[in-house]
Amino acid sequence: MKEQVLAAEKQAKSQARVQARRGFFSRHDRIAYSFLIPFAILFIAFSLYPFLAGLYLSFTDNSPLVRETHFIGLTNYIQILLNDRIFVDSLKNTFYYVIIVVPAQVVLGLVLALYINKRLFGHEISRMAFFAPFVLSVSVVGIVWGWILETRYGLLNLSLAAIGLPGNTPWLSNISWVMIGIGLSSLWWHIGISMVLFLAGLQDIPAELREAAVIDGANGWQVLWHVTLPLLRPVGVLVFILALIDAMKVFGQPWFMTNGGPAGASTTVVYDLYLNFQSTKMGYASAIGFLLLVIILIIALIRQLALKEDLT
């Protein structure tokens, strides 16, 4: 018995020495890294380098048609935060849009996923119908919804009028309604992906847990509230973060539907960034981009701290 234990120990030590010798340049690792290198090259060339170059640009007054580039430190950021009324307005517009779209996308995505998961009548076609808009490009969505939301003979107002509701809402021509109108188009466009993510999460929940709750006397609502939703929380966080990032970056819909109007009411942060880019104010536009990144990170961090959740 003692010999067997000693032999096992010796073998284990031998394996540990072999493992230690493998290290970084072991054959296994070399093969693994060789498969990673193509991605790494592309990542460095098209993600990391542009990121760092943009960060550097944001600290310069780069405007290639007007002047030579100088390092100006935080001047762009100070100018944007303290003196740029258009940026401040665009930030307010963006937050307004986020408040409209993000909760709706999370909640509606969940509701649709629950409906599909129940496998009720029509669930197969519904799944396809809800997801189909996601494959469209933003230009198609913008142009089509520009027509749908037209005040006088847009499809939405005509439909509302047909069922006895007010049919003259100025969805895109009124300062108060324009972001709601754009939000509707975004919801229609993106609800499918939220639904699919929630659906995947729902299908990951073991059926036994729900069955156990039912056996213990829980009704449908209690099963949903006490079993399903807590287990869906990681997916919910993911859907929220993705919806938030998407909403903070909104650009295509205002571009195609409203040109940022009326009176700048649908000018978002990225729209403002693009206008500065068009005017070749590269340093300034880069600073706007990085400010947006910081804002998104802060919001995500606040959410994590508030709910004391582990996002990993």
Binding site: I41, P64, V66, G261, P262, A263, M282
Partner: protein
């Protein structure tokens, strides 16, 4: 000799290595002509004088060259221009010159593409054939990226003698933009609506602003609540169209966004207020316009507007629109004066290290001018040259019926050029600075005084960075 078996591990290693090699090859920069960035003229100074390196005495014979053209025209003009380039390529192929032009449509992305090219210092096209480029042209002219055409056109034997008066946009004596389509503003009138209202265009036209309002009032339709359901005078509630209307009335009254010195504003005065008040009155007092409209072309094209102020580029699409019976009239007089915004469809050549490439662009432009008749025969574009204007194909085209008002504007000198500023677009037609500020007035968020004050502050801020680039029409 033992035969080695190809294991799965070996296969994966080989394919991984092959993929790595392919990725590395794909990432290698293609050999392309790069261009050293020109020395930028500081903002506010005049455009650089013709500083082209002397061209080669003759293009090396047989030197094959593939050149890039950007076309910034929508259908049908963009398609026709593409067909003409194809014809030019066929002509070059038959002569075995080795010259080939590739072209791409950049209608919606021209600003971004140019900005990206400027940042990279390369990527500009060899030739640009586009529409109204005044929003950005001065920026690239001042930076030296757009070259003066005169030396190049002279080398290829192109003569400006054929040009009609007031169709050349010159800057410090140089042509940077070769105008192949002067355009102007006119009034479009839906003749079905006019007939319905008993209006006679020939004998009692909307020739003054008051008369135009009278016409519009008779043609406007309203619902039971008094809301406009069919605009007698088409203005959208915000955006470009009300700014254009404001700009035209302002100019007719004798003022302008920027004064003759190009450095100070000239609109925050009684004329500016009167022009703004007219726009508000169209919505609120005369009730001839619907503030809920967002898409002016759609409203006009679907027959939902009676009078529409726009450029002659709308003629082609109006002719193609189903059941749209229209006619045109001159821009109305305001206190005895008219105003019609002039712009141009232009060709430009971007700076290249190889002067032969610029010369080839000049040759293309010369050829196109000699073969441009199909463009005008099939569209409503005005020509800038007498030879085409005198051709039967041009004289007999359907669009001529509607172009009288624009020709009148040029003939009687009441066109005004668009504003071109290297820092920020300051046109009535599309400037975000104007739209952003004036929208607040149209939407009732600001009084006219406050709106004009805010606009003045912003415009003065732009002019402080760079004055207006003053093109001279000859």
């Amino acid at each position: 000799m033992t035969q080695q078996k190809l294991t799965r591990r070996k296969f994966l290693a080989i394919t991984g290595t092959a993929a790595l090699g392919a990725a590395a090859a794909a990432c290698a920069p293609a050999a392309s002509p790069t261009t050293a960035p020109p020395t930028s003229a500081p903002a506010g100074t005049s455009a650089p004088a013709a500083t082209l390196a002397p061209a080669a005495t003759s293009a090396p014979s047989g030197q094959a060259m593939t050149l890039q053209a950007w076309i910034s025209r929508g259908a049908p003009q963009g398609d026709i221009i593409g067909q003409l380039i194809d014809k030019y390529n066929a002509d070059q192929a038959s002569k075995n010159t080795g010259i080939k032009w590739e072209y791409q449509s950049v209608t919606d992305s021209i600003d971004a593409k140019l900005a990206a090219a400027a940042t990279a210092g390369k990527g500009f096209p060899n030739g640009y054939i586009g529409d109204d480029s005044l929003a950005w042209a001065s920026r690239y002219i001042q930076a030296g990226w757009v070259v003066p055409l005169n030396p190049l056109l002279q080398q290829v034997g192109f003569s400006f003698d054929d040009f009609l008066p007031l169709t050349r946009w010159t800057l410090n004596g140089n042509d940077y933009m070769l105008n192949y389509g002067p355009s102007g503003f006119l009034q479009y009138i839906n003749m079905d609506h006019a007939k319905e209202a008993g209006l006679d265009l020939q004998n009692d036209p909307p020739d003054t602003l008051d008369k135009m309002v009278e016409w519009a009032q008779k043609m406007t339709k309203k619902d039971a609540s008094g809301n406009v359901t069919r605009s007698g005078f088409l203005i959208t509630g915000s955006g470009l169209q009300p700014t254009v209307v404001w700009g035209h009335i302002l100019q007719a009254l004798g003022s302008s966004l920027v004064g003759p010195d190009g450095k100070t504003t000239n609109f925050n005065n009684a004329n500016g207020k009167q022009a703004a008040q007219f726009v508000l009155d169209a919505f609120n007092k005369y009730k001839i316009s619907d503030p809920n409209l967002t898409d002016r072309y759609k409203e006009w094209g679907t027959g939902n507007a009676s009078i529409f102020w726009s450029g002659d580029w709308v003629i082609g699409s109006s002719l193609a629109a189903k059941d749209l019976h229209f006619d045109t009239w001159k821009m109305p007089q305001v206190n005895g004066k008219r105003a019609s915004q002039a712009s141009l469809e232009s060709m430009m050549i971007f700076k290249q290290d190889d002067p032969n490439r610029m010369l080839e662009a000049a040759k293309l432009f010369k050829w196109m001018f000699a073969n441009f008749t199909p463009l005008y025969a099939q569209t409503g574009d005005l020509t800038s040259v007498k030879s085409i204007a005198n051709s039967d194909a041009y004289k007999n085209r359907p669009a001529n019926k509607y172009l009288g008002p624009v020709q009148d504007a040029y003939a009687n000198g009441y066109t005004f050029p668009q504003n071109s500023n290297p820092v920020q677009d300051l046109n009535y037609y599309g400037s975000q600075v104007l739209i952003r500020n004036l929208d607040n007035v149209w939407l009732g968020k600001m009084s006219i005084e406050d709106g004009l004050n805010a606009l003045e502050k912003d415009v003065q801020g732009v002019l402080a960075q760079a004055p207006l680039v003053q093109f001279k029409l000859i």
